[in-house]
């Protein structure tokens, strides 16, 4: 028997009842659609979540420096060694302790009983790179530089929130604030922080000035890396900051991107994969059922074919091919609907759809396999039929 004849007969058999065949494929269509959408959306969403990490979190590293009784673990000038590392975009050292967080700060020396002039604010010492390291900008004025630090100038930079609380709105008259008894000139206001937002309510002074408030040692280092360098820099930072004592530093690095992607996929996949597989099984049972009914209906046809010289294997092959083609049709439709679904979901969520080519190829194949498996038993029943009984 010519293969083309076999294919022709299978197609004719399937198209003899188009509505029934279409309904038969429905289960497979649902199953394949679910699987394709699940896998596609998981891949798309996974990629998306990584994209968001990239933007904010994936490049931010914080190094916590524990207190040390003797020599400081991290010297103030160690920050220069850190910024020389490849992949470091900006870095700043910050000193803060439990005494400095509750200092009384006033914007003038008058005692006005009708107003609350003294605010309890956090005072920090920091290196000049802080605005970049906190991913903010100077909304007014400027940050202090190494010159201020070396001369131990009594200058201060206010966080946006702190400036508002103290009533400092303009800098052209060089306003002063009082921390304790001493006056400090406000030279800048820092705002729009996207990292370490609590700095917004702080008063920042040069390290050389901070000693007066007990801010002797670096307690925290903020590092920003270029994209993808976070893992590497996180490994190198402790050694750069504190050669010999790197182990004592605590590095808080973002989760590595691959892990983030895996996690995202795992969460979405598990449930829907099961759902898709269940639909596929239901689809297979549907095909098996309908093919079996079809075999019973076409007993006379089977008898006729046997009388025309068809061997059992010819009968089996025809019914097997019919169910396989039904499954394949379901797979093709399911893959198409699934791809459209992924694109639609991505469009609604404003994501970039991520389509695996193998998914589009494998889905129809999976449908065909489902049809093939579903057709095994009915085809066997058809082939086993005795021509005498079939023609009766």
């Amino acid at each position: 028997m010519d293969v083309r004849d076999l294919v022709g007969e299978a197609f004719a058999g399937m198209l003899a009842r188009p509505v029934r065949s279409a309904l038969t494929t429905l289960g497979t269509v649902l199953g394949i659609t679910t699987l394709v959408i699940t896998l596609g959306v998981a891949a798309t969403a996974g990629n998306q979540i990584v994209g968001r990490f990239d933007e904010l979190v994936a490049t931010a590293i914080t190094v916590e420096v524990p207190e040390s009784k003797h020599t400081p673990l991290v010297a103030w000038d160690a920050i220069d060694r850190l910024t020389r590392l490849r992949g470091v975009v900006s870095a700043a050292a910050v000193a803060e302790n439990k005494d400095s967080v509750n200092l009384s700060v006033r914007s003038n020396d008058l005692v006005d009983p009708t107003r609350v002039t003294a605010q309890t604010l956090t005072v920090l010492a920091a290196t000049p790179g802080l605005p970049e390291a906190a991913r903010g900008r100077m909304t007014r004025g400027r940050f202090f530089d190494t010159g201020h630090i070396e001369r131990a100038d009594r200058v201060a930079v206010l966080g946006e929130q702190a400036a508002k609380m103290l009533g400092v709105t303009r800098l052209d008259r060089a306003p002063a604030i009082f921390i304790g008894r001493n006056a400090y000139t406000v030279i800048g206001i820092m705002g729009d922080l996207r990292r370490e937002r609590d700095l917004s309510a702080a008063v920042i002074v040069p390290p050389s000035v901070g000693r007066q408030f007990g801010l002797r040692d670096v307690t925290r280092v903020l590092v920003n890396t270029s994209l993808g360098a976070a893992d590497l820099v996180a490994g190198q930072a402790p050694t750069a900051l504190s050669p010999g004592n790197g182990d004592a530093l605590q590095v808080i690095a973002p989760p590595s991107p691959t892990r983030a992607r895996d996690q995202a996929q795992d969460d979405v996949d598990a449930l829907f994969l099961i759902l898709g597989l269940v639909s596929l099984v239901v689809g297979a049972v549907g095909i098996a059922n309908v093919t079996l009914v079809t075999v019973m209906e076409r007993v006379a046809e089977i008898g006729l074919r046997r009388s025309l010289g068809a061997a059992r294997r010819h009968i089996a092959a025809q019914f097997l091919l019919e169910s396989t083609l039904t499954g394949l049709a379901g797979g093709v439709i399911g893959a198409s609907v699934g791809v459209v679904g992924i694109v639609a979901i991505s469009a609604a969520k404003e994501w970039t759809p991520l389509l695996d080519v193998w998914l589009a190829v494998a889905a129809p194949v999976a449908g065909a396999v489902v049809g093939l498996l579903a057709g095994l038993y009915p085809a066997l029943r058809a082939a086993r039929m005795e021509p005498v009984d079939a023609l009766r």
Binding site: D5, E301, S307, L308, G309, A311, V388, L391
Partner: protein
């Protein structure tokens, strides 16, 4: 002397039941090329069993059946199927045309099993339809044809592949007298061209047209004058 088409020698067929049923009791029959034989008998006489044995659809319990000189009772299933497809054309009472295929497609179906060339199949089918006088109905679906036309289409299908034997099971059982007449005329014509025809029937009208009549009663075959 030419080889007989059918040569049955003491063929016996028992069906295992309680008590066992003997459907064919030592039947011997010889049909030569060009013969037109009618097998007549009441229902339950063993007619259908004889047809199944002759059509290689069933194996006899004992005895020998030579078709065109080939001993068939020893053959494996596959070889019997091939022999059936090549040598025997079946005509059924209920036509067995596929409802969703046109007349010519139904006729072409006879050649898809076995080693026939695909090339020229349609032409051969059209020729077979022309032979049975259905040249004007080739593109029709079976349900648009009259009963007689359907049976002629089925005969055209049986004639594809030049069988040595046309085996007909009550070919006019579903037809009115006018259509019966047309089918019987066709048998006469085919027989004149040398085809061997064996018709199983219980209708007097059909058996009357045959050159030879054998009667089967309770599994016993008797030649009628």
């Amino acid at each position: 002397m030419p080889e007989p088409v059918i040569e049955l020698d003491r063929v016996r067929k028992d069906f295992p039941s309680r008590p066992p049923v003997r459907a064919l009791a030592d039947v011997s029959l010889r049909v030569d090329p060009g013969d037109y034989v009618a097998v007549i008998g009441p229902s339950g006489s063993g007619k259908s069993t004889l047809l199944n044995v002759l059509g290689l659809l069933d194996r006899p319990t004992s005895g020998s059946y030579r078709l065109d000189g080939t001993e068939t009772t020893e053959l494996a299933d596959g070889a019997r199927t091939r022999l059936r497809g090549r040598r025997i054309g079946f005509v059924f009472q209920s036509f067995h045309l596929l409802a969703h295929r046109t007349v010519v497609e139904n006729v072409m179906l006879a050649e898809i099993y076995g080693d026939h060339a695909r090339k020229g199949r349609r032409e051969r089918a059209l020729a077979a339809l022309e032979r049975v006088g259905l040249g004007h109905r080739v593109g029709f679906l079976p349900d648009r044809l009259s009963g007689g036309e359907r049976q002629r289409a089925a005969i055209a299908r049986a004639l594809m592949g030049e069988p040595s034997l046309l085996l007909c099971d009550e070919p006019t059982g579903n037809l009115d007298s006018r259509n019966t007449e047309a089918v019987l005329d066709l048998f006469d014509e085919l027989r004149e061209h040398g085809l061997t025809i064996l018709v199983i029937t219980h209708e007097q009208e059909v058996s009357g047209r045959a050159a030879r009549r054998v009667r089967i009663t309770d599994g016993v075959l008797v030649e009628e004058a």
